[in-house]
């Protein structure tokens, strides 16, 4: 695309400093850049896979013209994806001198650190929370800390500190927020609408100027690795040492962040993160709220995208089963050509999706359940939060006036090589009275639909048992019973 202007350096702000880099490898992580190239060693490596949070930093970006700061895992965030961003590390917090930031002082006074290795990450996560929620509930604090592991304190002291931060200072006086205008202006100045290309030949990365440019780039280079949130691709690099070049970073393409609703269908651009989608989805399809809250930790939700979760085709991705149950469709794009397919048809086999070379997922379209429809999704894991699914069941149900099952879609993750419909079970339910007897009869049909595997997350027996029990839970939920159907840390308000 000769018409597109290109630039061969990335530009971002690191703490207070403007940075321009033209010598950066596609797979260079922010963590290595901070620690090795900049000797900013307050940010730690604990796992290099986005699970422990020791590397947490804040990344400020312009979202719809508004500057937002979000916690991210520096260990799996690529430097190349930071063009136009403001990176804030622990070193920037105290702002020089002996005086600690309110988050830091609260952590000190409430004994929130023991060995201290995880502490900078906790401070950054709490800082990110405090900026948007100065008086957070315990539930909000715990959610913000799902991606931060501490092995020493048992968390109680950190919780005490987190509740008290506002006693140590006012958000309004926080330096980052006070500088918001200036930083916004500086970031605006970095956005020149050009394509960024850094590196030579295969060993390079591209940040397309917009969605059309992305289409052009991928059409020209169909083997390129598309990187959205890097919550999966990051691990290809840190854990499997895979070569991802040429890489195409799409996280900051505005056109992929669209989120809209038309005629009862929510369209989610492929670059929309879980965090960005949360408000709309949890409001319009309430069952998705608690599910999104249990995907990764806050840092992963700030980076990871629903589009990426779909596109990578994992059998244990958490959004495909509920989206399939809701009857979602995809827009796939190659060059200028677009096509729409039902999401369930996208997953062909393990590791194989219906996506041509050079084609990419542009948007996911999710029908909102109609009034009277029943929809639920249940994720079962070893640890409640920030864990990968052992089995996940999603249920959408329409009842006829006579109380029989008019229509039903049930899809599971973790039960097969792909996210998969429970066709035999659905068949056993269709047209039958929606009763416990019907459900029990349907539960006997699961073996026709699924032959799950045993792995480190669960045995085949457990998966098979839980999968059918979830149908019973769904049934009970639709009866409107007030009795507790499952355990919960957070009582319904």
């Amino acid at each position: 695309m000769a018409t597109v202007k290109t630039r061969n350096q990335i530009r971002f702000i690191l703490n207070g400093e403007d940075v321009q880099l033209s010598d950066v490898a596609p797979a260079e992580t922010l963590l290595d850049y901070l620690r090795l190239s900049r000797s900013l060693r307050g940010t730690k490596e604990g796992c290099a896979e986005g699970d422990c949070g020791a590397c947490t930093v804040l990344v400020g970006r312009l979202a719809g013209g508004k500057l937002v700061y979000e916690s991210v895992n520096a260990c799996i965030r690529f430097v190349g994806s930071l063009d136009g961003c403001h990176v804030v590390t622990i070193e920037h917090l105290a702002g020089g001198g002996d005086k600690l930031h309110p988050v830091q002082q609260a952590m000190v006074d409430f004994h929130g650190s023991q060995c201290g290795f995880c502490t900078p990450g906790f401070v950054m996560s709490l800082y990110g929370l405090w900026m948007v929620s100065p008086e957070p509930s315990d539930a909000a604090i715990e959610k913000a800390l799902q991606g931060n592991l501490c092995r020493c304190t048992g968390y109680e002291a950190i919780m005490r500190a987190a509740r008290a931060i506002s006693d140590y200072g006012k958000v309004a006086k926080d330096p980052l927020l006070a500088e918001r205008k200036a930083i916004t202006a500086r970031l605006e100045a970095l956005r020149d609408g050009t394509r960024v290309e850094v590196g030579e030949g295969r060993d390079r990365f591209v940040i397309p100027a917009d969605v059309d440019d992305l289409a052009a780039v991928l059409e020209a280079e169909p083997t390129a690795t598309v990187v959205a949130g890097s919550t999966d691709v990051g691990l290809w690099v840190t854990k499997h040492m895979r070569d991802i070049a040429p890489a195409v970073f799409i996280a900051n393409i505005d056109g992929l962040h669209s989120l809209s609703e038309d005629k009862g269908v929510i369209s989610i651009g492929a670059g929309v993160t879980y965090t960005e989608a949360f408000e709309t989805l949890s409001k319009r399809i309430p069952a998705l709220g608690p599910l999104i809250d249990r995907i990764g930790g806050e840092q992963v939700r700030n980076m990871g995208t629903i589009g990426g979760n779909v596109a990578n085709g994992s059998p244990i991705g958490d959004t495909p089963p509920p989206l399939i149950a809701l009857g979602a469709t995809l827009t796939l794009r190659k060059g200028k050509a677009r096509r729409a397919i039902p999401l369930q048809d996208f997953f062909v086999a393990y590791g194989k999706q219906d996506r041509a070379p050079g084609e990419f997922v542009e948007a996911v379209h999710v029908p909102v359940p109609a009034k009277g429809d029943h929809f639920a999704v249940y994720k079962v894991t070893k640890r409640r939060d920030e864990d990968i699914t052992a089995a996940l069941g999603a249920f959408w149900l329409q009842l006829a006036k006579d109380g029989t099952v008019a229509d039903v879609r049930i899809a599971y993750g973790g039960m097969a090589a792909t996210p998969k419909r429970a066709s035999a079970v659905e068949k056993a339910l269709l047209g039958q009275p929606w009763s416990e007897a019907t459900v029990e009869a349907a539960m006997a049909r699961y073996a026709e639909d699924f032959t799950p595997l045993t792995d480190m997350r669960a045995t085949a027996e457990y998966r098979a048992l839980v999968a059918k029990n979830l149908l019973l839970r769904f049934y009970m939920e639709t009866t409107g019973t007030k009795a507790p159907l499952t355990v919960s840390r957070y009582e319904a308000a």
Binding site: Q104, L145, M476, P484
Partner: protein, 786 residues
């Protein structure tokens, strides 16, 4: 330099013993300024290591082709066993069974075979994957579950404890139960992985900055591997990013590899393991198979117990012998067994060699004891808490006879009755027990469970020579104090506590005492910071050093001012000499001008203890630390998912040196113990590969896993029975087994599905899967009975 202005009229110093102080490094932790090994500026030209690990579980090495590795970009050298100048062994037990690099054979999947030395860590790691290694695979033992603890291969000699005649007592008992329990291991998951930076010096010298709990042991093994005297090797550590026992011996291999490479290339060399390598190649808490048989009367009073504690040692001895011993030392928990026979079996398997982990086998022993209690309770149809109380050792000060442990030590300081009584009251145990029964009757899918379990934990190393410590204290001419001791800081606040002891001794404010990095060059021949002993041993050693200096200052003042020594009193930041007061700083200055030695090496050895392993008899522990926890859970009987609704803890740290620090240890220990028994599952596949080797697959507790209501208190009335440092008690390990209350509460919830008539025999870790499968089993058994 700013002039120090001491408060010369203060009634008390700031930061003395028995005061709540913040961690000395807290302000550095929160600002990112605390320096861990990997944060130190590397000397110019520092090289980096990438490890080549075994791809098979057991086999001989047919050929090791490293050509491609050597040719990879940035590679400077590749080290194998042939490059080890001294002995290719880092066995801490002197068994010579822990090679630095595998030689001829590999004994577990992930065993280091070679080390790439490269210009960057990235280059080293990439190159390490290019090796072409051919193995002749051999049959592998992956689990102890099917092994025979009496006959199969053991890595070291087992221990037997025997008192009375257990077999006869069980045979004659009105009731008996015999069964087996599976108890999983645990990865330490310190947030800072294993890391060492070796800097070569002149001649045979090397300095190793190492994240180690045992600098002297690391020094010893590095010298052993290099084939040089210990005096050539200095090991230093300012702080660790967590240890939990995982850096007691497991730091030594990385230290040795760094040192070998540094000496060979005359460049600084760093080894820092990736999380997957760390979890794959370094040892963990031992998983156990516990066989038990108990005889008891109709009331539930235990008459005789027989235990077999088979533990998964892995491929080498490491500390498995003593870990098995400590399991036996705690198979009584807080209970008197009139007749007892208990054996350990440290079994060889083709897994990583298991090692120390907070509690060191003790928690596993206590899990066995609590399982036995539970069995008795179900058999006689009583609340397990009643059975616990019925079987407690006699209380301190009562003239009873039920106070002899299986190792023939008399329990003299037992305060468990009072702790349990107070906790039962403060947690409203009986009321909640009734409420839960009512709730369960009315709830089809969610069931609640409750349990109150005690802890009695023995304090001392059973290896007698480890019960000593050294310290080095300098008072500089300006009155500021440099403190050093043999203990290491891994987050537990040890340096702070010892500094408080020194401040107290001199009666100077805490900020006058400088905490310095642990180094073998200042204090030699130290015990690892382990067995909860850090403050007990090093606090006493530092106190001893400070007292020597204080005595010299006193003698000097007595002579100079011509007053009797008993009229010289150390007051806060000043000293009263007869009728006048002079500042501590001034007295020090005068002492210096008069050529008084203001530096002292202190030493301490724990009195009273002795242990004869061959006879299974002795006074193994100086004293016991006590505690109890009451936990309530709710369980989803459709999935096995659960939450901890509430936990109440009452724990004994004697006269606490620093309650804030101790509360942190109790809270953290409980949550860590809970993680071990619930969601932390180590899972090996059929080929012996650990598949839970990173936080994505190995699930330690999160903030949202801690109890919804979490009440933690220390006994404000207890003090150590023995003259420990300021009558405080150790606090590192004892809180961890408080987590057993959660396992027992889960078991209680599971039992409710069969009306508490069947013992659930819930194994650990009690993942949602294990909980659900136990529920299914109970339901099936209950249906059969009907």
């Amino acid at each position: 330099m700013t002039q120090h202005q001491p408060n010369l009229t203060a009634a008390k110093i700031t930061g003395g013993v028995h005061t709540e102080q913040r961690h000395d490094s807290a302000h550095k932790h929160v600002s990112g300024d605390a320096v861990y090994i990997d944060d130190m500026p590397e000397p110019a030209g520092t090289l980096h290591i990438g490890l080549g690990l075994s791809n098979v579980t057991h086999g001989t090495l047919k050929s090791v082709d490293l050509t491609a590795v050597r040719a990879a970009p940035g590679v400077v050298d590749v080290l194998t066993h042939a490059d080890v100048p001294g002995e290719n062994d880092v066995s801490p037990s002197g068994m010579h069974d822990d090679p630095v690099f595998a030689e001829g054979k590999v004994q577990f999947h992930g065993q280091p075979i070679f080390a790439v030395v490269a210009k960057t860590r990235e280059q080293a790691r990439r190159a390490a994957r290019l090796a072409k290694i051919e193995y002749e695979e051999l049959p592998a033992i992956i689990s102890i579950w099917d092994l025979d603890p009496e006959k199969d291969k053991q890595v070291t000699s087992p221990l037997t404890l025997n008192r009375g005649d257990a077999a006869a007592a069980i045979a004659a008992a009105p009731r008996k139960v015999k069964a087996r329990m599976k108890l999983g291991g645990q990865d330490h998951f310190y947030l800072e992985g294993q890391v060492s930076l070796a800097v070569p010096g002149e001649d045979d010298e090397v300095v190793v900055y190492c994240s180690t709990q045992g600098p002297s042991e690391t020094q010893h093994l590095v010298s052993h591997v290099l084939g040089v005297p210990s005096h050539a090797v200095t090991v230093e550590v300012r702080r660790m990013g967590g240890g939990f026992g995982g850096k007691e011996t497991q730091a030594n291999q990385c230290a040795a590899i760094a040192a070998i490479a540094a000496k060979k290339h005359k460049r600084a060399v760093k080894v820092r393991l990736d999380r997957d390598e760390d979890m794959t190649a370094t040892g963990k808490r031992h998983d156990f198979a516990i066989d038990y048989e108990v005889g008891f009367d109709d009331e539930g009073r235990i008459l005789g117990v027989d235990f077999m504690f088979a533990l998964n040692a892995g491929f080498s001895a490491d500390l498995s012998g003593p870990v098995g011993d400590r399991a036996l030392f705690h198979c009584d928990n807080a209970y008197f067994y009139p007749n007892v026979h208990a054996k350990s079996a440290p079994l060889y398997t083709n897994t990583v060699s298991n090692t120390a982990f907070r509690g060191f086998g003790g928690p596993q022993g206590m899990v066995g004891a609590e399982r036995v209690i539970e069995e008795v309770a179900f058999a006689v149809g009583k609340d397990p808490l009643e059975i616990r109380k019925l079987n407690f050792y006699d209380a301190m000060g009562t003239p009873g006879e039920r106070n002899l442990t299986p190792y023939h030590q008399k329990v003299e300081d037992n305060i468990i009755h009072r702790i349990v009584a107070e906790l039962e009251e403060s947690s409203s145990y009986q009321r909640r027990r009734r409420e839960i029964a009512a709730f369960n009757n009315n709830s089809r899918f969610v069931k609640r469970g409750l349990a109150l379990t005690p802890v009695k934990f023995g304090i001392s190393f059973t290896k007698t020579e480890s019960n000593q410590a050294g310290a080095l204290v300098h008072v500089y001419a300006d009155g500021s104090v440099h403190m050093n001791h043999g203990g290491t800081e891994m987050g537990q606040g040890l340096h702070l506590k010892v500094a408080q002891v020194v401040a107290e001794e001199f009666q100077i404010d805490l900020d006058r005492v400088k905490i310095t990095a642990t180094t073998t060059a200042k204090v030699p021949n130290t015990a690892p910071t382990a067995a909860s002993s850090g403050a007990d041993l090093n606090g006493m050693a530092a106190q001893n050093a400070a007292r020597q200096i204080r005595k010299r200052l006193t003698d000097f003042a007595a002579e100079k001012y011509q007053v009797p020594a008993d009229q010289i009193v150390f007051l806060p930041n000043r000293v009263r000499v007869g009728n006048q007061e002079i500042s501590f700083n001034d007295l020090v200055k005068q002492a210096y001008l008069n050529r008084i030695q203001l530096s002292a090496a202190g030493h301490y050895k724990t009195p009273k203890i002795h242990w004869d392993r061959s006879k299974g008899r002795g006074h193994a522990f100086y004293y016991y630390a006590y505690g109890a926890a009451c936990s309530e859970v709710s369980v989803d009987t459709l999935t096995g998912e659960y939450v901890i609704e509430r936990a109440d803890i009452l724990h004994d740290t004697g006269r606490s040196l620093n309650r804030a620090i101790d509360i942190g240890q109790v809270e953290g220990g409980f949550v860590q113990g809970t993680g071990w028994l619930t969601t932390e599952e180590l899972w090996w596949d059929g080929k012996g590969r650990l598949r839970t080797h990173a936080p994505s697959t190995y699930k330690i507790p999160l903030a949202s896993d801690r109890p919804k209501i979490f009440n933690v208190a220390l006994t404000d009335w207890s003090e150590a029975y023995e003259p420990t440092v300021h009558r405080s008690k150790a606090v590192g390990e004892p809180p961890l087994p408080l987590g057993i209350s959660v396992l027992q509460a889960l078991s209680d919830a599971v039992a409710s599905v069969a009306d508490h008539k069947i013992s659930p025999r819930l194994d650990a870790p009690a993942t949602p899967e294990r909980v659900l499968m136990a529920i299914e089993r109970l339901r099936a058994e209950a249906a059969q009975v009907k």
